[in-house]
Amino acid sequence: MAHAFRLDGHDHELWLSRSGSVYQVHVGDTCVPATLTARGAHVHELTVRDISERVVIACRGDDVHVHLDGETYLLRYSHSLERFAGQATDEAEAIARAPMPGAVISIAVESGASVRRGQALLIIESMKMETTITAPCDGTVQTLHLHVGQTFDSDAALVTLERLKEAP
């Protein structure tokens, strides 16, 4: 599986393989020899086939800023585990479930409230430990399945969210 970089909203798949003293860049079915030589202070010399260009490259986390031939490009590495994760359609992930049997101590949200991923929904107590149940995704609270004091079994649905659709 090739690496993917997001550029201007589109994923571009490519792969780098070794070949003698140079690399081969694989894009689709084509294969181009290339070398990249550091010249200090983010400046590199990029040679593709026989053409050399001066290029400035700066990385910040998964973002790669490239300045080449008077233009600036922002590339973002798109991890295949995230690219192909079925989050947007996986409804099971929009339900906060009980990790263990216990009782509800307090509820922090109301039905219809909009919540962000990681936001506290309710606190449960089990085996003398208090656990905060957080929103598994961004969305709005559709159903609160329990009230304060109520007990439940492991894996019981606690809160169902309506997943916030990602802006296209």
């Binding site: 986390g61 585990l81 995230e82 263990m100 089990s126 085996m127 003398k128 430990m129 208090e130 957080t134």
Partner: protein, 535 residues
Amino acid sequence: MKRIDSALDTRSAEFQANRQHNLALAEMLRQQQAAVRHERPARDMERLERQNKLFVRDRLQRLLDPGTPFLELSTLAANMEYDGEVPGAGIVTGIGIVSGREVMVHASDASVKGGAWYPLSVKKIVRATDIAVENRLPMVHLCDSAGGFLPLQAELFADRHFGGRIFRNQAILSKMGVPQLAVVLGHCTAGGAYVPALSDYSVIVRGNGAIFLGGPPLVKAATGEEVSADELGGCDLHTRVSGTADYPASNEFEAFAIARDVVAQWKRPTKAEVEWQEPEAPFYDASELYGIVPRDIKVQFDMREVIARMVDGSRFHEYQPAYATTLVCGFAHLWGYKIGILANNGVLFNESAQKGAHFIQLCNQNRTPLVFLQNITGFMVGRDYEKRGITKDGAKMIMAVAGSEVPKFTVICNGSFGAGNYGMSGRAFDPRFLFMWPQSQISVMGAEQAANVLADVKLRQLARTGAQLTAEEIAAIRDPVVADYKRQSSALYSTSRLWDDGILDPVDTRNALGIAISAALNAPIAAPSYGVFRV
């Protein structure tokens, strides 16, 4: 390997309150450590100066390679014993770099009671030699001790892991081909005389250094012979006549120069082969750990947030992410070393214990060292769970932990209660190193529950006599029990008695584990083998 996507809200009131709490604890730890390391009564420091001796910290500085890390172990040992008058149990131990080689250092602190061995001093030295044996670490002993502390001799002499164990371990190290060097900077009396004698190499300082089974007063009492310490067991006697010590040194500075030159002759170890890649700093800031660990031990937190602030690039390959979610298992790299992590995200259920046992077996097949991150109240209780064999499943996990051949490292991040401590590689299961975080607690059960049980027993005894107790009277019985129990489950109490290898500021955990893993790989990793799993 994908980066953990942190869901931590660093602006929340909860985060800020936890941060305040844990920062204060870290600051207190820093102060306590600084005091143990550097603060001594003026008369003790003056005595050292008069004797022309360096303070133990200055000795370490002379011995170790400048600019290299020194992982000091059990700095706060004995902090709750002997009226707090024996800082660090009078001994400094740790892993450091001498002439480019990883060594275990054991140094007497002559500024504390003349370097006398208290029971916990002996325990600390035994632990240092145990670490050397388990990890095949060469040792450097800096000897300057008045000998065993006689009033407490019953607690340091005769038992299996008392004084004799130091010398037994030294002999075993030599037998294993792991070199040791003793630098005799003061007296080595009685048992202590065997430390240089059992080392493969020894340096002795002219004037101050002396090795003898019985010191001048004892000799006079026994035979009437009057002899000075130097005549009895000094530098020239031992390096020219008896051959008990190897290298004479005219002063401490020369002694350390010789010591470094001796260590430079040792062959470098072949490390056990494990997966390694170029290290990468964690993506998330380690200082956010202060806001993650809750100030109330009853409050659960997501251990993935801790992992994200400890491992390379915050990358984590989670194994069985949807199954038995109260035990988080997965692979990561730490300072480049591939590790398998087991971390508690709640009580251990049947399937969590099975998942843990299974994952430990995977790591043993894979030759991947294991890191246990503890925050555990125990195994689940109740008829349903017993019916499904919770005890049997817990036994599987304990069997896997105990039988594991890859090195194990344990960090107690918060609670460590009951059998959960066993399943998660507590001290009894020989993790190569075990560290605690300042806020953590360790006991057979939680303080509140245990204190209630203890107080209830007392109250019932009183009730049987027909006494009617007021709420105040009940509190008067219960409160001291709670206070005492809490004290005895604190990290400071644990580290005082060497149930661990030291308390870590959470932000230092990554570096401490990096040094620990590197040290552990001096020992080869055997092929996987276990006892019988009750399936």
